[in-house]
């Protein structure tokens, strides 16, 4: 029972890591750059939702605030690429990485100035309710996390495999040159991928803030999600979710069974082991380039 309980709570956290990791992988596959502001976009999405729905702010109904925040962050991601990131085209990858780190600082600062640095919780219609299955207690908030992640995974799967835009995104991330000559406007598709990364970040943010609290530095969670993305295989979307769930599940077990000081390092220890023994991640899609 104990193990089951740990598993359940780890799963919910893992889904959130997985969703942030998904954002890392989306952008990495499309542009070969790593967006270290992905965690901060999660935080920003959560704060925008909070600002729209919490009493004392705009007080909109939760089910209106969430889609609105998702749409706003989608547009934000799209414009971020269009106005800022695209200007770095042709620069060294490290320059783009440092730019995204700086963007993360800006987002943290902006959120702190507007919402303050104190942790706040997102007011949800389902806060504080529990589901009981035998001896296992599952918060409704945790159940929502798992259900939303599964639903989003299904929608993304259909999107990438069935829609013209989804297939165009896959094509652009596999071979830009060829994609152009299939009639795909690669740059616009890349901006749309940044938009999609904003959308998934916001969903992760809402789920995160609804099961705990959020403060402007919550985006630093992105580091753990980055580890999850690498563990899963940086080029693989299912790998990102898997990596997230693995990291999420390891954490509660480590803090339960390992000495306090060491439990924190468990996800990174796993990252280390994966990098040594399976350097391209668990679900790697790696093929050697033939010379």
């Amino acid at each position: 029972m104990d193990i089951l309980q740990l598993l359940v709570s780890g799963l919910a956290n893992g889904c959130i890591y997985g969703l942030i990791a998904l954002g890392f992988v989306l952008i990495y596959k499309a542009t070969e750059a790593i967006n270290f502001a992905q965690g901060d976009m999660m935080m920003l999405g959560a704060f925008i939702t909070l600002g729209l729905t919490n009493t004392g702010y705009m007080d909109l109904p939760f089910w209106i605030a969430v889609p609105l925040a998702i749409a706003l962050m989608g547009v934000f991601g799209y414009l971020l690429d269009l106005i800022v990131i695209r200007r770095m085209f042709g620069e060294a990858q490290i320059a783009v990485v440092i730019l995204t780190i700086a963007l993360g600082f800006v987002m943290r600062f902006a959120a702190g100035t507007i919402f303050g640095h104190e942790p706040q919780s997102l007011e949800t219609p389902y806060a504080g309710q529990d589901l009981r299955f035998g001896g296992v207690v599952l918060g409704v908030d945790e159940a929502v996390v798992v259900i939303a992640t599964v639903a989003l995974t299904v929608v993304l799967f259909l999107f990438f495999n069935r829609t013209k835009l989804g297939v165009a995104m896959q094509a652009s991330s596999q071979n830009q040159l060829a994609a152009y000559y299939m009639g795909i406007p690669v740059r616009r598709v890349q901006s749309l991928i940044w938009g999609l990364a904003g959308v998934t970040a916001t969903i992760a943010g809402v789920l995160y803030a609804s099961k705990g609290s959020i403060d402007p530095s919550a985006g630093l969670l992105g580091i753990k999600a980055f580890a999850a993305a690498v563990i899963g295989g940086m080029g693989s979307l299912p790998g990102a979710l898997l990596g997230g769930i693995i990291v999420g599940v390891i954490e509660p077990f480590a803090s339960r069974y390992v000495a306090a000081g060491y439990s924190q390092i468990a996800p990174y220890l796993l990252l280390f082991l994966v990098l040594v023994f399976r350097p391209h991640g668990i679900l790697a899609q790696v093929h050697r380039k033939k010379v």
């Binding site: 929608v155 999107f159 069935r162 596999q174 060829a178 000559y181 009639g183 690669v186």
Partner: protein, 263 residues
């Protein structure tokens, strides 16, 4: 009626280096037109100008009278221009079938919701795309590889898949960048048959850059020989191969002199 493709006094230079120098030629509807020349002659640059990789410094490139320079490269498929690459640019993580289906991208009517719901209209469209792709698979004998991933396929097969993907876009003008490079003798022979059939059965105009003079002379209606960015000769394969300027460029002035002395 204007020619399908027209180069009108086109110049492109990189810094001080003139890659294409006041080049003019036309490609007529329904012909196979080859560009030949030694390395660095500007053949690939001419190709990349049509592909909208580069903007010409001077001159005009027209497709059926329409100024091509106005269009970004992702417009080309819609205008009926498809190309292959010397080094093969496929979607390596996808199957042969998926690669060919992406060739149908320009015909897909986009609507996220109907696509996710897979409505009868979308299903019908999908069936048409599959049908078009199966025709290409039959034409190029790709049946054994239909569900195979590109990453594991031999070079010769990938070359054919890339040709198939270009055909799936239903082009008016097909650009082939060294279609025989890296192919075995038999594979090159197949390629020659296909190029003829593409012209005769499908009515597609072919413009190719190729080194294999045997392939060029067996399939081309007209040949443009280039050297140092400009036109050396233009005519039938025989005319071009026996043109003095071409012989000189290929064999060097010394060799020609030797040969003349021997005669």
């Amino acid at each position: 009626m204007s020619p399908l493709l027209e180069f009108d006094n086109v110049t492109l230079s990189f810094g001080g280096l003139v890659a294409v120098d006041r080049l003019s030629f036309t490609v007529e509807n329904g012909e196979v037109f080859a560009i030949v020349g030694p390395n660095g002659a500007g053949k690939s640059t001419a190709f990349n100008l049509i592909s909208r990789f580069y903007d010409p410094v001077e001159g005009k490139i027209r497709l059926a009278g329409d100024d091509l320079v106005q269009h970004p490269s992702h417009d080309l498929a819609g205008l009926g221009v498809a190309r292959t690459f010397q080094n093969i640019e496929l979607f390596d993580q996808a199957t042969v079938l998926e690669n060919l289906l992406i060739g149908r991208h320009r015909f897909r009517k986009s609507n996220l919701l109907t696509e996710i719901a897979f409505t009868p209209f979308v299903r019908d469209q999908e069936r048409q795309h599959r049908h078009a792709v199966e025709e290409v698979i039959d034409f190029l004998d790709l049946q054994p590889y239909r569900e195979k991933r590109i990453a594991g396929l031999p070079y010769g097969v990938r070359k054919v898949v890339e040709l198939g993907r270009a055909l799936a876009t239903k082009p008016r003008l097909l650009l082939l960048d060294e279609p025989a490079s890296g192919l075995s003798v038999e594979e090159t022979r197949d390629m020659a048959y296909w190029i003829e059939d593409i012209k005769k059965q499908m009515g597609i105009t072919v413009l190719m850059v190729e080194h294999d003079m045997h392939l060029v002379s067996s399939v081309s209606d007209r040949v443009l020989a280039m050297a140092d960015g400009h036109k050396l000769a233009l005519g039938t394969p025989d005319e071009v191969q026996s043109h003095p300027a071409v012989l000189e460029a290929y064999l060097g002035a010394g060799d020609t002199a030797d040969r003349e002395a021997a005669e």
